[in-house]
Amino acid sequence: MNLHEYQAKALFAKFGIPVPKGRVAVTPAEAIAAAEALGGEIWIVKAQVHAGGRGKAGGIRLARTVSAVGEHAEALLGTQLVTHQSGPEGLPIDTVYVEAAAAIERELYLSLLVDRSAERVVIMASAAGGMDIEAVAADTPEQILTATLHPAAGLSAYQARALGFGLGLTESQQRELADILGKLIKLFHACDASLVEINPLIVTDAGSVVALDAKINIEDNALFRQEALQAMRDEAQEDRKECEARAHDLSYVSLDGNIACMVNGAGLAMATMDLIKLHGGEPANFLDVGGGATAEHVTAAFKIILANDNVKAILVNIFGGIVRCDLIAEGIIAAVGEVGVKVPVVVRLEGTNVERGRQLLADSDLGILAADNLTDAAIKIVALASDEGAAA
């Protein structure tokens, strides 16, 4: 789950990590009031969306007067911001964050994440802040500094010193960095973060170290123990169908194609998408209905799939396993009947009682086509989708 910058900065402030003064606004009038309350002479108006690359996309604007703050807020609020990370439709700007501008001497990069290979929390830092860090890592990997945290030892002083020297900080700035690192590590664990990123972490012209941006991702598996953070979820920033799926304990990801799929198990669901592509079709989604594939889940899954107007055909691929295929077939038939599916459906079942399951599908009069195996299913669905596409 992603947080907005303003939410992340509130958490930073709570943990004692220095951030510029700022206020949230959802109307131009609020933005003006925020600027007046903050005082100063220069303000930054920042669009709050769940995507990086906001600056280049025009989502971060500088204002030299209070009325300019209002004008920028007016221009941003209620629009979609398209960045290189947002997808072509962009993300809605429902909130702006108004900040007192900081005088920047240097821009650094700092992040904490769980490194899969090291199986530890790792700190990454770079003197090349304010840029696309992935490009820095690819082009000049020597500019990326890392420190791996042992779960028992945490951050050792020598590690903080090495980062401080590596970033070319003065002695007092090194002390500030060490303080920030200690607090970030506390925050990371307290919030069950999967990523905390500050890009840029700045050195101000007065020589102090401040988090100018803040990005926090919360690990989905740990949300059960992060109720306060769950309340910060902004569903307007997420795919509507993905939210709906989550409410039904289904795992769904939208794609651009026209062949929907419904599969039990994440690996098999990905493999089914790949099979569709391999046989010349384009998958419309990833959807894992879970191991049991109950009638209730299948019905919810059909509804979510059909909310996508691009869908021309649906492939259901279930490896029955412990749940019997005849029960799964009954679930599918009930769901197709209840939801009123208008596009062709191909079902591939495997497992216990598969013959009985296929027979039930064939007898259902709902036009459900049973496939003999994986390859047969892929060939049939691709042919049906292209027929439907041609007819449309």
Binding site: R116, H150, G267, L268, M270
Partner: protein, 289 residues
């Protein structure tokens, strides 16, 4: 022969009295697995499915001499359950539980590093040696004793590989679902080494997916240490970058962990790769001709 588990394995179940624990333990017992006890804190002294229930893993191990534990406790308590099993001297812990927080696993991995305990999972179907010992949630009937070792990050995709090798008349020595999370216990390399050393395993099927670099590391290990034929499939060629595809570990981040990279690494290591999961069985049969 087989690896890790067989007819001699004595197994306890942590979370036996829960819904998942009850259902799947009953299936394991029906299959012939020697499940000897269960552990549910606060239920010690009770009997469930005809098995004695203990309050602690230490009690269960002392009374039954079990060496394997399978875990079905809910995600918030799973890390603790793994640590309890390891501390009680359990040699092999199979954690089926899905949704364990990754920071819990960072802690678990650090503790296990100093102990003589193997972990499979979490978020996995488990391990099975066909005909003798099923520990997990996989459907027993699709397996048949034979000559192929199977290692997979996915549940139902493992079943595909199993079913195809069964239908091809090859059968399996042991099948291990290593789990779909970012941090897990045994990895491809650990399992490859065991299958390489197992005289009855003639060929190995590796089923990977997008995310991380475990398949790339497996490819390096295969180049240096594996002589048996390996057939591999990677799921997620069509998965978009930056999206978690069901499994917590199945995500392409910063352009790393794509299926294409993994296919390429495995092909360089001389592995037979298949672009369709429907071809795993036939490719293995051909490799063993």
């Amino acid at each position: 022969m087989s690896i890790l588990v067989g007819s001699e394995s004595k197994v306890i179940c942590q979370g036996l009295t829960g819904r998942q624990g009850s259902f799947h333990t009953e299936q394991c017992l029906d299959y012939g697995t020697q499940v000897v006890a269960g552990v549910t804190p606060g239920r010690g002294g009770a009997e469930h499915l005809g098995l004695p229930v203990y309050d602690t893993v230490r009690d269960a191990v002392r009374e039954t001499q079990a060496t394997v534990s399978m875990i079905y406790v809910p995600a918030p308590y799973a890390a603790d359950a793994i640590l309890e099993a390891a501390a009680a001297g359990v040699e092999l812990v199979v954690c089926i539980t899905e949704g364990v927080p990754v920071l819990d696993m960072v802690r678990v991995k650090a503790v296990l590093a100093g102990q003589n305990c193997r972990l499979i999972g979490p978020n996995c179907p488990g391990i099975i040696t066909p005909g003798t010992c099923k520990i997990g949630i996989m459907p027993g009937f699709i397996h048949t004793p034979g000559s192929v070792g199977i290692i997979s990050r996915s549940g139902t995709l493992t079943y595909e590989a199993v079913w195809q090798t069964t239908n091809a008349g090859l059968g399996q020595t042991t099948c291990i679902g290593i789990g779909g999370d970012q941090l897990r216990g045994m990895n491809f390399i650990d399992c490859l080494a065991l299958f390489e050393a197992d005289p009855d395993t003639r060929g190995i099927i590796l089923v990977g997916e997008i995310g991380g670099s475990d398949e790339e590391q497996a490819a390096e290990f295969i180049t240096s240490d594996v002589t048996k034929p390996v057939v591999a499939y990677i799921a997620g060629v069509t998965a978009p970058a930056g999206k978690r595809m069901g499994h917590a570990g199945a995500i392409i981040s910063a352009g790393k962990g794509t299926a294409d990279d993994k296919f390429e690494a495995l092909e360089r290591a001389g592995v037979t790769t298949v672009r369709s999961p429907a071809e795993l069985g036939s490719a293995m049969a051909k490799a063993l001709e």
